[in-house]
């Protein structure tokens, strides 16, 4: 029972991390119609920048600001220099160009920081554990990630449902052409949305740094999982991204935690662990394929 609760919390923690990435990706995908493979690079850049600033200054606040600024600035630059020219192109061109960006950023990080993963130490006050239930300790930092993720989700919800910008974003996700026809400066809106997505991706990277290691391939690992979330939730839907992220996070974590154990009953331990890990990784993709076949527009389509 304690293990299940712990794994559920781990799942939620992965889920909110995925949500931060998926929120930006789904907006960019839904509003601008761009498949941005370089979204994972922004996550990586945020993580590296924060780790570097933390190592230089030792300040949590500066690390946070540095990571956010780096991700947002790089994100806006990508939009301004490359993606802006690709909105009217087909998905193939977008995939090719953003794939090129991945190579560029990955190698750039190797040049700046080397191939060794960076490990980020947590400050004193975040490194302990609290008992979430009697007898079930859980790391404070992971709880903080969950709280931050949920706060951001709430903030995004308010931004999108209650403000004028949000109204334009929703309108853009439904009827891009109509919004343009009504005289909205769509280019500015695009840059803002892209910057917001980059900021969130960077934030996810900053928070993931101390949990996982900060390394060059980290963006691609999580990018594909983020696409799974976006597709399951429904392209362009923030609400879908939230539910999709939690679903994928929890399913993935629980499968990883329990499948090897179940397999150990029928085969020897090392083989069971390997097969279990692989089968658990397949789980979310199976889920995605099923959703695409049964509900091609996702579980929570944007224009329902």
């Amino acid at each position: 029972m304690a293990l299940l609760l712990e794994q559920l919390l781990n799942g939620v923690q992965l889920g909110v991390t995925l949500f931060l990435l998926a929120a930006g990706l789904t907006l960019v995908f839904g509003i601008m119609g761009v498949i941005n493979l370089a979204h994972g690079s922004l996550y990586m850049i945020g993580a590296f920048a924060a780790a570097w600033v933390a190592a230089q200054t030792g300040s949590v606040l500066l690390a946070l600001l540095g990571g956010l600024a780096a991700a947002a600035v790089v994100g806006m630059a990508i939009e301004f220099v490359v993606l802006r020219r690709l909105y009217a192109r087909d998905h193939l061109d977008q995939v090719l160009a953003t794939f090129g960006l991945i190579l560029f950023f990955n190698q750039g990080m190797v040049i700046l920081f080397g191939r060794q993963p960076l490990f980020v130490a947590l400050p004193e006050f975040l490194s302990g554990a609290v008992e979430v239930l009697p007898g079930v300790p859980y790391p404070v930092y992971r709880l903080l990630i969950i709280a931050c993720g949920l706060l951001v989700a709430l903030g995004l919800w308010l931004l999108i449902q209650r403000t004028r910008i949000g109204m334009l974003v929703r309108a853009g996700a439904t009827h891009r052409e109509m919004v343009r026809a009504l005289g909205v400066d769509i280019r500015l809106l695009y840059t803002l949305v892209f910057g917001l997505g980059a900021l969130l991706a960077g934030f996810a990277g900053i928070m993931a740094g101390p949990v996982y290691s900060v390394n060059v391939g980290m963006g691609e690992q999580i990018l594909i999982l983020t696409f799974v979330v976006v597709v399951i939730g429904g392209v362009g839907s923030i609400r879908g991204a939230m539910y999709g992220a939690l679903l994928v996070g929890i399913v993935d974590t629980l499968l990883r935690a329990y499948v090897p154990g179940l397999l150990r009953g029928v085969m020897d331990a090392s083989q069971a662990d390997m097969l279990g890990a692989g089968l658990a990784s397949m789980g979310v993709y199976l889920l995605m394929a099923l959703v695409l076949l049964l509900k091609p527009r996702g579980l929570f389509p944007a224009h329902a």
Partner: protein, 323 residues
């Protein structure tokens, strides 16, 4: 007529390459050329569905890996002298493993295609990616076949008494398969089947309106493409004498797409040119700097932004629309 002469000259130069390389004292070129030939087969197979049929498959590397693993697994069982699944004996004969790889690739593509082709557009991109990821993680998890670390193939397959360990022989074999596949593609594209595929790319609705059920055509093309890509994988397994899940990583699917787009979508020789450009760039740049990807990335971006129809468009009337 002039085109035929140019093509014949190109082919002659390609055949003579190992001797030229030897004369110039650059034997490593043969290996690079082999890689180009193998990737060209894989890219050309993707071109059948992507370029001619307009089906954006983002999981094509899965068949590359399946073809490679067919050779690898049959070798492993041959080495251990115990049958695969208790019934299929292992073998190291290329005349068996190569058709087996094609069969495995074709069947896998038929199964995946049958489900994926119910969707279209972005959903199709994502579902083909999903299936490829499943195949990838399946092989990561198979400890018997090395899991993440992959499988070493100590000796390349036996083939009519030829020594595939010899770089030139391996190159000629790959080149022969490539030429055969391109010839076949040329026939397929000009056939009724190819015309329907072209029609699917232009407008599925129009095809439906003139009374053609497009699904069987798309599925057949998808299966053929998978089979041909698996053939490339089988060659790769013999060339590298090593297979690993990396062969079907999603970035490999991305690379195959890049080769097709780089060369020119829906042109016969485009994927060859694309494969040559990408492998060649990689080889040249990695000779200059360890950080070659830092240069290659922006080059790719620039090509997308400025050379919209791929490298084949530089060759006038052979370019897109005329090829």
């Amino acid at each position: 007529m002039r085109e035929r002469i140019v093509l014949a000259a190109l082919l002659a130069a390609a055949v003579a390459l190992p001797w030229i390389a030897e004369a110039l004292g650059t034997p490593a070129t043969v290996g690079v050329a082999t890689r180009i030939a193998i990737y060209a087969i894989a890219a050309a197979s993707l071109n059948l569905i992507l370029g001619y049929g307009g089906l954006v498959s983002f999981g094509h590397a899965a068949y590359f890996g399946l073809g490679g693993y067919t050779v690898g697994i049959l070798w492993e069982h041959f080495r251990l002298n115990e049958p695969f699944l208790g019934i299929i004996p292992g073998t190291a004969e290329l005349l068996v493993t190569f058709p087996a790889a094609i069969l495995v690739g074709g069947l896998a593509a038929a199964a995946i295609g049958a489900l994926s082709l119910r969707t279209s557009g972005v959903q199709f991109i994502m579902i083909t990616l999903a299936f490829a990821q499943m195949v990838y993680f399946l092989f990561v998890s198979l400890a018997v076949y090395g899991g993440d670390d992959g499988l070493m193939i100590r000796r390349p397959n036996a083939f009519l008494g030829l020594n595939l360990r010899d770089p030139a022989t391996m190159y000629w074999l790959s080149l022969a398969v490539l030429v055969f596949w391109l010839w076949l593609m040329g026939r397929v594209v000009r056939s009724r089947f190819g015309r329907v595929l072209e029609g699917v790319r232009q407008s599925e609705r129009r095809m439906a309106a003139i009374g053609i059920s497009t699904y069987p055509y798309k599925l057949a093309a998808f299966a053929i493409a998978g089979a041909a890509c698996a053939a490339a994988g089988a060659l790769w397994a013999n060339y590298a004498r090593f297979v690993s899940p990396d062969m079907m990583h999603w970035t490999k699917s991305g690379e195959l797409m890049i080769m097709v787009i780089l060369g020119g979508l829906g042109t016969l020789l485009g994927p060859v040119l694309g494969a040559a450009a990408l492998v060649g760039l990689e080889y040249t740049l990695s000779g200059i700097t360890e950080h070659w990807q830092f240069v290659l990335g922006p080059i790719l971006v620039a090509i997308v932004l400025f050379a919209r129809k791929g490298l084949m468009s530089l060759f006038g009337r052979w370019g897109p629309g005329n090829g």
